[in-house]
Symmetry: C2
């Protein structure tokens, strides 16, 4: 019997050894039954199963996986697992993981490179089989030895500073382009871009798509239009604005709403068309509805998870780069001509 003193951690759990001695068989036989391996008499099987039942035995996966070398475990790392998009992506990863019997760790970095590294390495120390990472900007060489040691890695939504890992992106550039083309088709010619950190990957993509659409239409771009702030939005000559994040869409809408409010009192209203990147639950109920560009984060998570699991189950081949579409959802806030 297992009569070690296990500190104050409750009743010690029964092990296979305990099951074996209770069933009067050898350890290996219990192992066979537990793993459904052939070559055990129905009679013996029954005895073992009985002992398992009696003892409330549950196999220790940690031990099992120390032996087999795999943990059937994935890690998900993003800026903030509570952010709607990252949470949805995490759920997507979880869903494909569950289908294959994998569990997933979730971790948030708050955009801090050191925390990302700490988290990733902690997960590798736990010997996760794979990692889905929404990488912070910067290099990711710290992962090279882990990948070499067999940890699969897929990057999501942002390309990593590292070669040799699959990447799943959203066509943010195309989304921005579609949004700006849409605004131009409404007659807008002075279009702005609003975001917090312009040096972030998404900002750069969006500004790229924006510039592409403007250039294609032969429209000039004033540098000040792409460095707007919510407060000074109305001091700028832009008649339309693309917002790079939910947060800045909200800020723009608030700024415009309060301005409209005070200006209405003075008998003058200036409307600015708004397209936001990232959808909202209430987007269709506000008036006018918020026109947005968005992507299916859960789908991106599922694709990343699939890719990861495929690598884990031994698929070799060249590094893949998948780009999923973004979608323009017109709801009213961008569907009117400029108000000069």
């Amino acid at each position: 019997m297992n009569n070690q003193v296990h500190a104050m951690r409750g009743i010690p759990r029964p092990t296979m050894k305990d099951v074996a001695s209770r069933a009067g068989v050898a350890l290996k036989t219990v192992s066979r039954v537990v793993n459904g391996e052939p070559g055990v008499t129905p009679e013996t099987t029954k005895r073992v199963l009985g002992a398992i039942q009696d003892l409330g035995f549950r196999r220790n996966e940690s031990a099992r996986l120390l032996r087999t070398g795999r943990t059937a475990t994935l890690g998900f790392i993003a800026d903030d697992c509570a952010d709607p998009d990252y949470a949805a992506a995490c759920r997507g990863v979880e869903d494909v993981a569950r289908d294959r019997g994998f569990l997933v760790f979730a971790g948030s970095t708050d955009g801090d490179a050191a925390r990302e590294e700490g988290l990733a390495l902690a997960l590798c120390a736990r010997r996760v089989d794979g990692l889905v990472i929404v990488p912070v900007n910067g290099d990711h060489e710290y992962l090279a030895p882990e990948i070499e040691a067999g940890v699969a890695a897929v990057f999501m939504l942002r390309p990593p500073g590292l070669d040799g890992a699959d990447v799943v992106l959203a066509d943010e550039r195309g989304g921005a382009k579609a949004a700006v083309v849409h605004l131009i088709s409404q007659g807008h010619r002075r279009i702005g871009f609003l975001d917090g950190d312009l040096s972030g990957y998404r900002s750069r993509q969006l500004v790229g798509g924006y510039a592409e659409a403007m250039a294609a239409a032969g429209l000039p771009v004033d540098p000040s239009w792409t460095t707007l702030s919510p407060q000074r939005l109305l001091d700028s000559p832009v008649t339309a604005v693309l917002c790079g994040s939910r947060e800045h869409t909200l800020r723009a809408l608030r700024a415009l709403a309060t301005a409209e409010h005070t200006q209405t009192a003075r008998g003058r209203t200036r409307r600015v068309a708004v397209v936001g990147f990232g959808d909202f639950e209430l987007a269709d109920l506000i008036s006018p509805g918020v026109t947005v560009v968005s992507y299916d984060a859960a789908e991106i998570g599922r694709v990343a998870g699939e890719l990861l699991l495929r690598r884990i189950t031994g698929e070799n081949g060249l590094t893949r780069r998948v780009e999923l579409p973004t979608r323009l959802v017109p709801r009213g806030s961008a569907e009117f001509p400029p108000d000069e």
Copy 2:
């Protein structure tokens, strides 16, 4: 040297044994250095550290924890980790976990009892030290043996069908009561309740608070008022409605918006006051702003995590039941008199 063939899983990782032989010391000495135990010459320490550096050694936590019996790992289980509240709660758990060096698994049940059990037991098989669970309705006896074996468990937002575990709740009943008192103070007397599954815990709590407030005001309640559907909201005589979930708040607002639209065309508008349970990012930008009752999900997660970690680190004592406040946020959709 470690010359086993490790399948196709990349270069085998260096182990303590490898470090030891490279540094020309015994295994135990490496262990001492790695764990910062006293009793090692600075000279030896340096040699070991050098070998660790050279080999890129990283301790295998799985093996370590097989020995020590703890995994420094928590599990978080909720209906849907992508839901805003649960995601925030998960993040709260993660934050307190990180401070103590714990990692957290996240899992979603979609409200399915079988999946909850499967997830919880899978996590226990991985020997998580503790579990934070938003339980589905039903009993949770399957956890009793695990708890007895030393797995700590804290339930969140819904009480479990099980004794002997801490619970962290939100004062949903009080929130509903406050909302109804508020509506009554505006002059409303026929107030409804709208939700999907009326048998869920939150619905019951909210209806309880609702009934309490109505009774306290001496107001009669027609049974049909608490079994509304979004479609038939306007066929009902209620002048105000409390919605039990974000989803149903949205449904009610949509139903009222379209009704208002068509009725305005006919020159008649009927307004219904709305209070929703659960906040929205855009709640203040819709007109009128959406009045809601909400709670701080991240804080609930942190409290649950703290409680759990305290149990894990050996705090004994009676089962605790913590109830965190809910808050009424008036924004306009409920701040007007009934429109008879």
